[in-house]
């Protein structure tokens, strides 16, 4: 029987009177890379923040490996998270920051250091270990967040736009790591705006628009949904999110200017 890594049922997230996520439901199984797609402000990051316990939902059921997210410590222990906007403790160095996260996670010194050595080498990050995070470039800050997310070998990886700021080499390594993690039996929830990456990497995708899930399945499933046999994920995405209509007129108007 396949293990359900994440189960979301009837999720509602609101900011004051504004409803960002409305009655959202989906599940992610072990071994899956689930792509969460949607236009800006669709509710992807709000959904992810609820999953990692950063944001409180107004309603709905959220479980991580059958553990309700309200059981915070147990649920969070199973997650590795890379946020969309990487804002870490800027005055610390990566070494100090990773030491802090490893302490909170009660990680064993030997195990964590051998993992860290491998990841730091893979991302060519060793040279920045004693530089304050405030002084790092956006891509290198992203690498710190990725290292912190991988440090405890989590069962579930939740990555919100993880490729932003990464150079080509690091992007490639991260994509390989994500694939390897899923093959090993872990689960990945991955949010991105790069449709080509989602199409190549994800086992299934869920498209959110205006806080609602408007399409879900493999790319082939979605092609059937929009009745397009040839379309790329980008075309499907634009159709499903009702952004295709009028697009040509807008482009034309911009060209004429």
């Amino acid at each position: 029987m396949e293990t359900i890594a994440v189960r979301i049922e009837g999720l509602v997230v609101s900011y004051g009177s504004f409803v960002a996520v409305e009655n959202l439901s989906f599940a992610v199984k072990n071994g899956e890379i689930y792509g969460l797609l949607g236009p800006n402000g669709a509710g992807k990051t709000s959904t992810i923040k609820v999953l990692v316990g950063v944001l409180q939902p107004r309603a709905g059921k959220v479980e991580i490996y059958n553990t309700p997210i309200s059981n915070e410590v147990e649920a969070k222990s199973q997650i590795g998270y890379v946020p969309e906007e990487v804002v870490l403790l800027d005055s610390l160095t990566p070494r100090e920051f990773l030491e802090f996260t490893a302490s909170i996670r009660r990680l064993d010194t030997n195990t964590v250091n051998s993992r860290l050595e491998r990841f730091a080498s893979a991302f060519e990050f060793k040279q920045y270990f004693d530089t304050p995070i405030a002084a790092l470039s956006m891509g290198n800050k992203q690498k710190v967040a990725i290292l912190a997310a991988m440090l405890h070998d989590p069962k579930l990886l939740i990555l919100d736009e993880p490729l932003i700021g990464l150079d080509a080499r690091s992007s490639k390594i991260l994509k390989e790591l994500i694939t390897f993690h899923a093959k090993k039996g872990g689960a990945v929830i991955f949010s991105t705006h790069i449709m080509e990456v989602a199409e190549k990497l994800c086992t299934r995708v869920g498209i959110i628009n205006k806080g609602k899930l408007v399409g879900e399945g493999t790319v082939d499933d979605l092609r059937k949904l929009v009745r397009s046999a040839e379309g790329s994920l980008e075309d499907i995405f634009l159709k499903v999110t009702e952004q295709e209509a009028g697009m040509q007129d807008i482009i034309k108007a911009l060209e004429e200017e």
């Binding site: 900011y15 004051g16 009177s17 504004f18 990692v52 316990g53 950063v54 944001l55 409180q56 915070e72 410590v73 147990e74 649920a75 969070k76 222990s77 997650i79 998270y81 946020p83 906007e85 990487v86 804002v87 870490l88 403790l89 800027d90 005055s91 610390l92 160095t93 070494r95 100090e96 990773l98 030491e99 802090f100 996260t101 490893a102 302490s103 909170i104 996670r105 009660r106 990680l107 064993d108 010194t109 964590v112 250091n113 860290l116 050595e117 730091a120 060793k126 040279q127 920045y128 270990f129 004693d130 530089t131 304050p132 405030a134 002084a135 967040a145």
Partner: protein
């Protein structure tokens, strides 16, 4: 660009800096889960808090003027100190307080000035470097506007109240303006030095750690100095009088030193009939030299303040890294190490951390004049220190807000967090007790009462800290510990402190009661009350998930 335009632009920059000072948004605290209207409310409360902070500094100056400065000027210093000595002494003390209070306030604000990276935002706009410098400088002035104006107003008001002349008023105004320019210069100098040399040095070496600790001490000097002058203004004036009444050469040397040169000059220009022409000439020359120095300082500040508003100030030289080894600790030790590391690189946290210790040093100097230190004195001293220590928990918890949009996803238990923060805050209290006991021991006073009551009261203070943090966690665990969440509502802040103060005060009150009713039972009553509080709060904390 016209001045009016620069002034208008500096207003926008200022709004951003004051917003940063409260919310540390870019530090990742994340806003509370609110709607647009709530965010507007938070913005206006940021403005309100900045205004309050300025007013507090101004009111403090006014109170100092009324309670210390005026009595000194009215020569309420005993028969041995004539008015012509008391006046320059008092004026010098006032100028010193203004200098250090403004520096203290400026250092608190510099963190937000740096974190706003406002020059990075302005640089891509079609503005010349000179205009950017001027905008940032005007914004910097806006931070201090009310205290700068009120210092001058209070000083002149006191001066004319005691019957100063117009000429003396002009000299006074010059003195206060020079002082304010020196204060701004010192602020920028310290901030620049700190961010360039300390905050951006991430090194692991013991040397770097010692260097950071030394700079933490440098940062608290203005705090300490302001506190010291306010508390010991009379003693300083007496010491000053003793010096100047002694050797003439000493008096002539002092006249050359800021702020005494202005003290003498104002006093000559306004009050004195008996004139020492040599001292007068020296004070005129020295004061003129300080005006010239202030002019150059002003030019330097205008050009340099831009540098602390850019991201470049925190850029660091890369070190040679030998390994990637980390040493994870148990969670509460991990939190404490992180807190200390953050505080040692953030001036506003560093100074707040060391405030109880500063107060203890001042208290230690005070009680050195007491004839004996009995239980009543000991309890009084402990009350003072505990009041200041109990201000720490909200500050300590606000460190968790610095990157809460990230750290909130970590599997952290409430009780671990409470234990770590309680230990840090209680340690500052213990350090204070050790200082007091050591001073009592070295000056040959009976230190037993302080040591005994101090050790027992530590349990009560620890319980009060646990109580404050538990309340804070109940309110902000879900919402997040953003600095803005805690400090934007003054009512919340007060509602957290009051229970803490009550908790720490209960054993004190019972001990005082016992002192009158059953004097033999003061210590047992105190011990039982503190122990019960500690046990109760430990149980509450253990119950937290």
């Amino acid at each position: 660009m016209k001045f009016s335009e620069l002034w208008r632009l500096s207003s926008t920059v200022y709004k951003e800096v004051s917003f940063q000072s409260i919310f540390s948004l870019r530090a990742g605290s994340g806003l509370p889960q609110s709607g647009r209207r709530d965010i507007k409310q938070l913005v206006s409360s940021a403005k309100f808090n900045t205004l309050i902070s300025k007013l507090v500094t101004s009111v403090f100056l006014a109170i100092f003027a009324i309670t210390v400065f005026i009595p000194i000027l009215f020569s309420d210093m005993g028969p041995s100190i004539p008015r012509e000595i008391a006046i320059p002494g008092g004026i010098s003390a006032f100028l010193t307080v203004v200098l250090f209070l403004i520096v203290f306030m400026g250092l608190q604000m510099s963190t937000s000035f740096v974190s706003s990276k406002i020059v990075d935002v302005l640089s891509p706009l079609p503005l010349s470097k000179r205009d950017i410098s001027r905008i940032v400088f005007l914004c910097f002035l806006r931070i201090f506007d009310i205290p700068l104006v009120s210092a001058a107003v209070v000083f002149l008001a006191v001066f004319f109240f005691i019957g100063g002349s117009v000429l003396g008023g002009i000299v006074s105004l010059t003195g206060i303006v020079v002082t304010e320019i020196f204060a701004l210069t010192l602020t920028v100098l310290l901030a620049k030095f700190f961010y360039a040399k300390v905050a951006r040095a991430g090194g692991r070496s013991i040397f770097q750690t010692i260097l950071r600790f030394m700079f933490m001490l440098v940062w608290i000097i203005p705090t300490f100095a302001a506190y010291f002058v306010v508390n010991f203004a009379r003693e300083i004036v007496i010491a000053f009088a003793t010096l100047t009444q002694g050797l003439a050469s000493v008096s002539q040397t002092i006249v050359l030193i800021y702020p005494f040169s202005y003290g003498f000059l104002v006093s000559y220009a306004a009050f004195l009939s008996k004139i020492d022409y040599l001292a007068l000439s020296l004070s005129v020359v020295a004061s003129a030299a300080y005006v010239l120095l202030a002019y150059y300082c002003l030019r330097w500040v205008t050009g340099t303040v831009r540098e602390i508003g850019t991201s470049a100030v925190t850029r660091s030289a890369r070190e040679i890294v030998k390994d990637t080894i980390i040493k994870p600790q148990i969670p509460w030790v991990g939190i404490i190490r992180k807190d200390i590391r953050v505080a040692s690189r953030s001036p506003s946290y560093a100074s707040l951390f060391l405030l109880p210790v500063v107060q203890t040093v001042v208290l230690a100097v005070t009680f050195s004049s007491f004839s004996e230190i009995g239980p009543a004195t000991a309890l009084g001293l402990l009350t003072g220190i505990s009041l200041l220590t109990l201000l720490l928990p909200p500050t300590l918890l606000s460190i968790e807000g610095l990157a809460s949009a990230y750290t909130k996803h970590l599997p952290l238990r409430k009780r671990t967090l409470i234990a770590a923060k309680t230990l840090v805050a209680t340690t500052t209290y213990i350090v204070s007790i050790i200082i007091l006991t050591a001073v009592a021991f070295f000056i040959g006073k009976d230190f037993a009462a302080i040591a005994t009551f101090g050790v027992i009261h530590t349990f009560s203070v620890a319980a009060a800290i646990m109580l404050e943090i538990t309340i804070l966690l109940r309110k902000f665990w879900k919402e997040g510990f953003a600095v803005g969440n805690i400090y934007s509502r003054i009512t919340t802040y007060i509602m957290i402190l009051i229970p803490g103060y009550i908790f720490a005060g209960i054993p004190m009150a019972l001990a005082f009661l016992s002192f009158f009713l059953l004097p033999a039972f003061v210590l047992p009553v105190f011990l039982v009350a503190a122990a019960v509080e500690f046990a109760l709060m430990t149980l509450v904390v253990l119950y937290q998930k």
